[in-house]
Symmetry: C3
Subunit: 264 residues, 3 copies
């Protein structure tokens, strides 16, 4: 189960250390990912220009690569950044958006995995695709339940050495042996774009301060699920939900919030 | 006039079928277009990478190409996507943002039209430019009234075979013969960026489920106008308007909403 | 001190003239920058495609170049736009985001400065970097207080001929001799992404209508600080702050608002 004291300590560490999190993410997610990072106390930097990747990764505390919007320039930047993170031993998070939806997406994700991501965070379809399971992907939204992906996630964790974080109605976090869950959240969350991308960005911030990659992945999904649940309470629709969600991250009180945590 | 039963049926079909709508759109519009699609029940996918266009268009239910932010990579992706949509007989929507404002914009739009868009959706300036009318464009906001564009729209519909949807204080939808209007909306709508782009994205969702392209274009503008009108009621400014608009799309009740419809 | 009558006149001129402001800005900022411009009454246009830069700059009333998200295509577009602005004697604003964080950022900013920006608007770290001061940059958020940058700003203004606008808890505006301050704002502002980029975009609108570049820079920071302060009043967190901020810009009443102005 989630260690409450360590969870509170990690949340406080993000605010007190304000880690610089370098994000290569898609255009849909950039604004909300940056605002999510700022709201929890981290410092976001968005850049994918190959020429500056080595310098930027070097000064950052963590790197997040999200392959949502690909083009040849972005892929070059992603590769350079992943190599730099590996070289400088910076924690880094891979979000394999849409892996399985096209050949180039699956290949780009598999190529990046060679640079030893600390954490791989995706939905069930993406994780099952990367684990080699034969599934029919349907765009970038998952057509699989996250529970179906647990075995795939364990297998992917074992083969890559990364912690694997699978988001869905119940989130699963595994290092290949241990499996933890977060069962908070709201049905409004998959109706708001880039919530998964925001989870990946926040995972980068926790990876920069947490003693272990497993805790970083687990604590992030706890924050996402709790803030999402609180944000949904007074939401009329996805507009107010999005606003409330940033507000809940801004005022997030780990000690109080953790009382609402549900694990299964 | 708009057929109320068909309007309700189309709105329900978007929610029940949740069509995968592939968008190539500009960076300003990506977030709100994706959130708008999710709020009405569709499933958005944003990608412009030439290498995966054929695969993505193949799995999508509709394609939307918005030329708002051009560069050479994006143009290559747009052309590949339009060709694939034509090849796989997928309904597709062209939003010729800023046609007339530069040579490359006009040329790109005219080039894409060769791939037989199902629906062309733009403002009066853009439609008049594409129809060959001599007008002075002023950036990406229309310097023409939408009513001035009716003849141009009919002419463009006849020459291309597309349904043409012109947004403005009154929206005009035509297939070259029949002309329908939607007179709902709010003066706040042109003060919020990417509302036209959102209309194009939603047109893609309706094009995926509606029996006819004409109904798809008409029903989308009805949803936009009605949700916009409802959203403006309690809006202090464009910030709350944007939030309310997504809320109104989320809770949109076609049967109730259509009672407020105005056509002229 | 700020001239109240001139401030009111400039705010009214933005609404009555609705200047077309051409922005080359980063993907994080595009939506809020466009919405900020629309809310104060200006007309935004976002494009960075090299091929259309000359035409777009020619029809625009002002240009804003923000180097937040660089790649080789964007840099080519920025250079073409800056050259065109210089050629057509259009007022233009440079926001040197992250100057000092990588070699290519510093070089790109210095290269663009050769095309005579009317106003350079950045945070303390960026301005000190461009002025040649030896400082340690930490990503794109400033690690320097804006007051530390006053001497650097004066020096940069003298060497470039540009008005320099440094944002921070207190904003400093200088032409190399005269220095004015704006002390409004809210601690929530640096917790929302792209507020600096929005300040640059709005500076473009004021540069298009204001009799002097100094007034344009000063009046923009007054609007930003005042609207930000009003927006923070009822904000629970950064979500509601962002919404309130656009609302405050929409309903901004210069005559009333200026009564809350603080200069030091």
């Amino acid at each position: 189960m989630l260690n409450t004291q360590q969870f509170i300590a990690d949340c406080e560490a993000v605010r007190s250390k304000s880690p610089l999190v370098h994000n290569i993410t898609n255009y849909v997610a950039m604004n909300i990912a940056a605002n999510g990072l700022l709201a929890i106390g981290a410092s976001p930097l968005m850049s994918f220009y190959e020429e500056e990747m080595d310098e930027i990764v070097k000064i950052a505390s963590a790197l997040v690569i999200n392959i949502g919007c690909l083009d040849s320039n972005e892929i070059a930047g992603m590769k350079a950044a992943a190599e730099a993170a590996d070289k400088y031993a910076k924690p880094w998070v891979l979000d394999p958006v849409g892996a399985g939806a096209s050949v180039v997406r699956t290949q780009t994700a598999l190529e990046l995995i060679k640079n030893h991501p600390t954490i791989i965070r995706g939905n069930a379809s993406e994780i099952m695709c990367l684990a080699g399971a034969q599934i029919a992907s349907r765009g970038v939204d998952s057509s699989e339940k996250s529970s179906d992906a647990v075995d795939a996630a364990k297998s992917l964790a074992k083969s890559t050495g990364a912690v694997v974080s699978v988001s869905g109605p119940v989130d699963y976090i595994t290092d290949g042996e241990r499996v933890e869950t977060i069962a908070n959240g709201s049905p409004l969350m998959p109706m708001v774009t880039a919530m998964g991308c925001t989870a990946s960005a926040l995972t980068g911030a926790f990876a920069a301060v947490s003693p272990t990659a497993f805790d970083a992945a687990l604590h992030t999904m706890a924050v996402m699920g709790l803030a999402g649940e609180f944000a949904a309470k007074d939401a009329k629709g996805t507009g107010t939900f999005g606003v409330n969600f940033l507000d809940e991250l801004t005022v997030f009180n780990a000690e109080e919030a953790v009382k609402s945590l549900r694990q299964i």
